[in-house]
């Protein structure tokens, strides 16, 4: 493996591997979010398990954070290298003649997603870390709330129309990113299957249904509470 991940292709393979991991994570995140629509109790139980299980908190959570940070940092490194490879810019360049807008603007949809993740960290992750690791409260309960606090907190988050609006916009960018990213990851891994109809169809379905699922959960709580 000597130097493989330092090569241009090795870096793209690393991008694709982290992308696969993140796409899998998105599916499980969406599944739990959808539980809040189906059953608040079940959502509370699963959230408490995810939030307090040591394997998830101390093993999988660091892996996830590494995966997210890696995908962004490598994305920026590749973008900078690509810009350097360009040299002088064309006076006239007709990119639309030969490629899709989403494929040419992965960095911008990526930056929009990064902005959302930063907000999500401030909004959700930092308070969670504060409660559990600084205050040392692992009970999953809150004064004035019966049972676990997670469902109440989720509902409370989606009261503010500005937050819901930002959430919807962010997931539209995620859909755009995935529309190219899903099949592109397979292609980087050497799969010509990325160009076959079935995989393209799965990619399209994934890149629409997953973001729409997240948006649905947000809008559901916004309009029902």
């Amino acid at each position: 493996m000597n130097g493989f991940f330092k090569s241009s292709i090795g870096r793209k393979v690393a991008m694709a591997l982290s992308a696969f991991f993140l796409m899998f994570f998105l599916l499980q995140h969406l599944a739990i979010n959808l539980l809040s629509v189906i059953s608040p109790d079940l959502f509370n139980e699963v959230s408490h398990f995810m939030g307090t299980n040591p394997l998830i908190q101390f093993a999988l959570q660091p892996v996830l954070i590494f995966g997210v940070v890696f995908h962004f940092v490598m994305g920026f490194i590749l973008e900078l290298k690509n810009k350097k490879a360009n040299g002088v810019a064309y006076a006239k360049n007709n990119g639309a003649a030969n490629s899709s807008w989403v494929s040419r603007n992965m960095i911008w949809s990526g930056i929009a997603i990064l902005a959302f993740i930063i907000l999500h960290f401030i909004d959700f992750w930092f308070p969670e870390i504060n409660t559990k690791f600084i205050k040392g409260d692992w009970s999953g309960t809150m004064a004035g709330v019966e049972g676990y606090r997670y469902y109440e907190e989720l509902v409370h988050k989606f009261v503010n129309p500005v937050r819901v609006g930002a959430y919807v916009v962010a997931f539209v960018f995620l859909a755009l990113h995935l529309m190219h990213g899903f099949t592109s990851a397979f292609q980087s891994m050497g799969g010509t299957a990325g160009r076959k109809k079935t995989l393209q169809a799965i990619g399209k379905a994934y890149s629409i249904f997953v973001p729409v699922g997240f948006i649905f959960v947000a809008l559901y709580h916004f309009f029902n509470h």
Binding site: M1, N2, F4, S7, S8, I9, G10, R11, K12, V13, L78, K81, N82, K84, A85, N86, G87, V88, A89, Y90, A91, K92, N93, N94, G95, A97, N98, S99, S100, S103, R104, M106, H180, T183, S184, Q187, S188, M189, G190, G191, T192, G194, R195
Partner: protein
């Protein structure tokens, strides 16, 4: 159709160190049957007659097979037509009164030598790094047909080998990536038994040279495949990626 009058916006650059700029020219009475390069010849005759320096551009066979001509025309490598080089682009693709922007290939690894001519030696150096097979050519060479090769592999290898190394893939790529070129060169050997012996070293050395030359990375936009005059498929990039992964795991 009547003959055309056109405005040309052409990149002029005295030499590799000079700062270039776009300069406007007018050409008149251009026949729709002319090739794009013949239209350039008309312009140059005009310039020579008026004592100006003609526009330097690459060309050789003018039959679409040598890979020498280039030109980024109206924002596309080899112009608006598909599956052709610039010498095979005809003026019937344009209309009377059009303004046509003509630029050299743009990539850090393809520096401009003069006007519309760029230095594509980086491609040669990639080839030198491994784009060959080491065989004895002293006269007792084995007949290639004595090795059984499936029709499918032979066809795919031939498709990859049709790459003429013009550099349209790099010029068109938003990252100035040479993956389609290198992918085709790696593939044409990887698909054949003669290429197997040196396969791992070949892909490693060619990719290393490609990176060293300063070409960008692949975003899989597919633009190269669309603009390639020989229709080289993106599958060749995927095959190169597989070959490099295989080589790295060895």
């Amino acid at each position: 159709m009547d003959n055309m009058n056109l405005t040309l916006k052409i990149w002029r650059q005295k030499d590799s160190n000079a700062k270039g700029q776009m300069v406007d020219y007018k050409v008149t009475d251009i026949s729709e049957h002319m090739s794009f390069l013949e239209m350039m010849d008309v312009l140059n005759e005009q310039l020579v007659n008026s004592g100006e320096e003609p526009v330097a551009f690459d060309h050789d066979c003018r039959e679409g097979i040598c890979g020498m001509c280039s030109l980024y025309i109206n924002g596309e490598a080899h112009g608006p037509d598909r599956g052709i080089t610039t010498c095979q682009l005809h003026m019937r693709m344009f209309n009377d009164g059009d303004t046509i922007t003509i630029e050299p290939w743009r990539a850090a690894a393809f520096p401009v030598i003069k006007d519309l001519i760029v230095d594509r030696m980086s491609f040669e150096r990639i080839q030198h790094a491994g784009g060959y097979i080491s065989v004895n050519t002293s006269g007792n060479t084995q007949d290639a047909n004595s090795l059984p090769i499936s029709k499918h592999a032979a066809d795919e290898a031939m498709d990859a080998a049709t790459c003429i190394g013009c550099g349209a893939c790099v010029a068109t790529c938003k990252n100035s990536s040479a993956m389609l070129f290198v992918g085709a060169k790696v593939s044409q050997y990887a698909l054949l038994p003669q290429g197997q012996v040196e396969a791992a070293d070949r892909v490693k050395n060619m990719v290393a040279q490609m990176d060293l030359e300063g070409f960008g990375n692949c975003t899989n936009t597919g633009a190269c495949e669309v603009e390639c005059p020989k229709g080289i498929s993106l599958d060749n990039i995927a095959r190169m990626n597989r070959e490099l992964m295989k080589a790295a795991l060895k």
